[in-house]
Symmetry: C2
Subunit: 182 residues, 2 copies
Amino acid sequence: MGMEDDLYTRELINRLARLDATSAWKGDLNPAQKAALTYLARANRFSRSPSHLAEYLGSTRGTISQTFKALVQKGYVTERRSQADKRAISFDLTEKGVQAIDAPNLLGRGISKMDQQIKKDLLTSLEVLSRQLLKENGSRAFGVCNQCRHFSARKNGGHCMLLSEDLSPAETLKICHEQEAA
Amino acid sequence: MGMEDDLYTRELINRLARLDATSAWKGDLNPAQKAALTYLARANRFSRSPSHLAEYLGSTRGTISQTFKALVQKGYVTERRSQADKRAISFDLTEKGVQAIDAPNLLGRGISKMDQQIKKDLLTSLEVLSRQLLKENGSRAFGVCNQCRHFSARKNGGHCMLLSEDLSPAETLKICHEQEAA
DNA sequence: TTGCAATAGTTTCGACTCGATACTAATAGT
DNA sequence: ACTATTAGTATCGAGTCGAAACTATTGCAA
């Protein structure tokens, strides 16, 4: 495969994302806001701050702060201040926020209709590319809790040895900003 | 593959595009402007108007008009008015515009470093997905000139039987908004 | 313990996107 | 000769984007 195909691959990824974004713009949420909600749904309770999202999206705290402001105002998320560290803020999805994520969308429909094998190949190669990109970029991987070297399994859920916190079964499947590959 | 994987696939596509966009924002071009330049580089001389780009990107004429205005002002493209149809405008890349497209970028580097087979699988599955999405969306395919049923090959390049125009070899490889699969 | 430095988050700035809407000018069809 | 359609533009309000300046808190070291 040559240079040409590489360019085309890049353009396809961007175009797909763009068409998905266009369908998002229609509603009351823009793509940045939608990306924030999606992240919140996948991140554990230690990883839902403006800083974490900024790092995940490759953005800045200032920008993300604005996005959360809009989301709070529209009732998609609520703010929760930490009493341990009075600087820290965490955001939680409201019922409305959860519904917005599950809303039908163009890209999701397209993916669901793909042939099983091709779909599987797509996911595999996207994961490879994603890893490559993050390495290139010096970004953190933002892996899942139960794949972490600070994770220890318990009968019901698990335990984080870094933060000394018990974890529910659901939580062990979520993104953690402290995650380091086992 | 279940619902979960579909969601994850969608998120990966969006995240990849987002990280690529972030690296674009750094310079003097934003993602929308970059998408416009990329399109111009791939579209033939009959397909470089605001309307065509709007349709390609799933956007509106008003928005695209603004984007071209910014690009002209910054010297990346030039305007060319048609004398046949005095409403029509076409944009051409300047030297600066061509250079901007060839500039190194995060996603391009990531793709170039992938294993050949995985890269090929990625391109194939993205094409399948893209076709599925466009069908779903009722959008035009924006195929390449020489794959068109109005195309007829000539010794040097080709000829468009719809527009009655001769085509250079390079032009036969470009996107045409009139294209209909052969 | 006082005195910074680092961290978390916010605000403001200017350029720009986004869809929607209302507009002008040119062309096509009846 | 009308009228509908098409091509492009201007303007609006909400929001994004990075950058930079800002506040409040926390951590560390002398």
